[in-house]
Symmetry: C2
């Protein structure tokens, strides 16, 4: 029965996309690496942010390249048109939104990941076992049971979406994947605080449950979910014949890093038989700091927990995680049978495949950079840096409180400081505008990048500390810039308000 | 009003996660780079795949690292425990599922992306303009109008989900984001072929529309959606008072690379006023090959189009794209107002933010590797490689047809060849098992990695050619391995069937 075919056929030469000269490629890589390392080691010497000039935007809006430019020219374009105009989150005085700072080791890990080019949807190869290890480590960090499952995702927005899909699946009295939300006998209702992240509402929308079926419960003076109000709302909803199914607690709200009373929420969810999801986008990793850890008490009782590595663990973008206490419930919300996947032998083995735990089938090797960062630095050091940022936030708040023209707008609970510039005698009605303009002025000065938010309807300058390069000197330099720029911004705001020329 | 604070405070020394010795870090990077480049340049010399040994799995299941191991040890672990046990999709004889091969240039781009560490959720920085350029290029490739929007995602599974969310939003007679699917007066129905990718059904589930509301229309002998059957089903659904809203065409099915008659689907959707989405995961990029391009006629008329860069463009995992003809409809399905985002000034500018076009808020800089690959190689060369793979598929099919013990199971329409090993006289009832075992045997031999699927209920050996390193010699080596291994696998299957010891 043995036979061979066609081995004598004349074949046209075929070329791959690999370099024709590997030596030359290697020397290119080395010189680019060297440029990148000076860029990374010089993070402190540059401005934190500057506007992208119009001519750079024009250069980037390049016509569709039909012919090869080669890797050298592509690298040159990066160095000329991209590297100098980044957002600044690798800079020690970047305090905007919630960004991680990245690490040089992360670059090394990504270099490997790109060369390996793994698809983590499933199958039998070492990268899958790296993701398993990362998830196992996360289980241990948060004291989740061995039966818990996990999935790396692009971030907490995606992890919240997947978590709510699992909760929906578990609590629906019908086969919701087959029948759809319209077949539910009653609307399914979820609960979170008014300070919860916008991705929670977005998840309710995406899942077809409707934003109106997310109750946004009022917060107490610490901007934590008000438990009485939550309990009362659930009761009212049940009385109306609705189906409460999930409470989403925040472990660090994005406005002020408020942490809900997670232990109390766990109790309430147990009593009410509701799914307890925790959005711990950045705050969950405060678990790594011995000092901050007690604030998260109860997180280990969540049914599901979402958090990011690219924020406070400084893994390069993007990398988030979802843990689900009951791995089988997780799988039941997303598993699928496709003909072309998995007969379970040889390279097709490796069950369960990760694509059975979420909406993504092709999945990059983001596990490697997480694994690498944890190995390189160890959890203790990573936790110490998290603790440092929290101490820095308290220090900054003290400085603000001691300044007569600054006003703290929210209690500092973790790593976020919200305040406003309020020079004596400045009209209250113009304070919002003043602070929006002040944030822009500080950013434009290149000294630092805070962002803004609203706390109890008032515009705040918002300083988020998830930055391992920040030192206390950076905080002072930032505050001094604010106080230095404040008066002229105030003048401008008043002048434009009174109709005078600017 | 000028004042400064605290600049004389005594501050504790604080250390970052950066290397203490940058020179040492640079020399580490250089030696790792050199190891990686020999790995990449030696792709052909290795086995295509081999099982991950148990002791490697044990090594990877390492206890949670509390103390720093340093970057050197982390790299050593990669070289020892990961690099030798990858899936093989960088190998010239990897033909499984639909994987891209990656490029060395992609590694360079990812190195830069990790160092820049951008979050592409929004804001004003050069990386956002890189993504805009990539999307603009895609618009041009597919002749979409200037008003079209785009979004880079992890892949087509996500892009299909987002596209159906946009279609749902546009066709729902209510405010579906606010009210949810339960408030719809009638079920919304989508249509696709029985050969469509499983992510389409998953999207219907995730969006709460229900899998039952996806009609899987039968296919013709070319495994394309049957247009009469589609038209009839829509008519019946309308008569039953249901709300048809979307047709999902396939530009390259995953089983056999069948391409639906997209022009006919575009006509039908225009007449029926339905959203026309095209799942072009790998097939859409056949647009870059002059020879294959005509098969995609009609794709330029889609309301939305999903496709991947990490497959046939060999961009490192993960990178996919969604284009939406009407950018404003796209935004309306996902936009959000969050206090802590966007007052639109300075670093907060850069509107519209990408997070308003999908479920992800944190978004990595995957645009860079796409941009880099297109610049490095140019579209013409990338298209030529796509054309090469299609020619190779036709060549392989010829070889199969000329072999008495091989049977082609589906017409070769693009780059996928499905066949089975059918030695004369072998019992038909055991052919499925034979071919499943044969695929495993070929994979385990290390010669090549095909995968398996079912075509018209019969198990097929499936060869997918999205590999720029494959030469015709590789196809012959694979076929010879199949024919060499076939007889012993057949004997084993027969023996185990008759209860004899193996």
């Amino acid at each position: 029965m043995e036979s061979t075919i066609g081995d004598s056929a004349i074949l046209a030469p075929e070329t791959s996309l690999d370099p024709t000269d590997w030596q030359d490629f290697q020397s290119l890589c080395e010189s680019e690496l060297s440029a990148l390392i000076s860029h990374l080691s010089g993070a402190t010497d540059r401005v934190a942010w500057r506007a992208v000039p119009e001519d750079v935007k024009r250069s980037l809006a390049e016509p569709l390249p039909m012919e090869p430019q080669g890797p050298r020219q592509a690298c040159e374009s990066i160095r000329k048109n991209i590297l100098p105009w980044t957002l600044g989150n690798t800079h020690p005085r970047f305090f905007g939104w919630v960004h991680g700072s990245g690490t040089p080791g992360g670059m090394l890990a990504e270099m490997y990941a790109a060369a390996i080019n793994a698809n983590l949807g499933g199958r039998e190869h070492a990268p899958v076992y790296v993701e398993r290890t990362v998830i196992d480590w996360c289980r241990q960090i948060f004291s989740f049971p061995d039966s818990a499952s996990g999935l790396l995702l692009s971030g907490t927005s995606m992890a919240n979406l997947v978590a709510l899909a699992v909760a929906r699946q578990h609590h629906a009295p019908i086969d919701i994947r087959e029948e759809g939300v319209a077949a539910l006998p009653q609307p399914m209702i979820a609960y979170t605080s008014a300070e919860a992240h916008c991705s929670v509402a977005k998840a309710m929308e995406t899942l077809g449950l409707g934003r109106r079926n997310l109750r946004r419960i009022a917060t107490n003076q610490n901007l934590q979910i008000d438990l009485d109000s939550l309990r009362q709302t659930i009761k009212t909803d049940r009385a109306r014949g609705l189906l409460p199914f999930c409470v989403i607690g925040s472990a660090g709200t994005v406005n002020s890093a408020a942490i809900d009373d997670l232990a109390a929420l766990a109790n309430l969810c147990e009593q009410e038989q509701l799914w307890f999801h925790v959005d711990g986008a950045f705050g969950a990793l405060a678990m790594l700091s011995e000092i901050e850890q007690p604030k998260l008490r109860g997180i280990e009782r969540a049914d599901s927990l979402a958090f990011d590595f690219h924020k406070w663990m400084h893994v390069p973008y993007d990398a988030g995680c979802l843990l689900v206490r009951d791995g089988e419930k997780h799988r039941q919300a997303f598993n699928t049978q496709a003909n072309y996947l998995a007969e379970g032998l040889a390279a097709s083995a490796g069950a369960p495949w990760y694509c059975e735990f979420g909406p993504e089938l092709s999945r990059g090797f983001r596990a490697l950079k997480v694994w690498f960062t944890i190995k390189e630095h160890g959890l203790r050091r990573l936790g110490r840096k998290i603790g440092d940022n929290c101490r820095q936030a308290r220090y900054l708040a003290q400085q603000i409180e001691s300044s007569p023209s600054l006003e703290l707008l929210a209690p500092v609970q973790l790593n976020i400081v919200c305040f406003r510039y309020k020079p004596p005698g400045f009209p209250t009605s113009q304070l919002d505008r003043l602070n929006i303009e002040l944030v822009a002025a500080i950013q434009s000065s290149g000294v630092a990048v805070p962002s803004s938010t609203r706390i109890n309807e008032r515009v705040a300058v918002r300083v988020n500390l998830t930055n391992h390069r920040t030192r206390k000197e950076d905080l002072l330099e930032f505050l001094n810039a604010a106080l230095r720029l404040g008066p002229s911004v105030a003048e401008r705001v008043l002048a434009s308000d009174s109709g005078a020329p600017m």
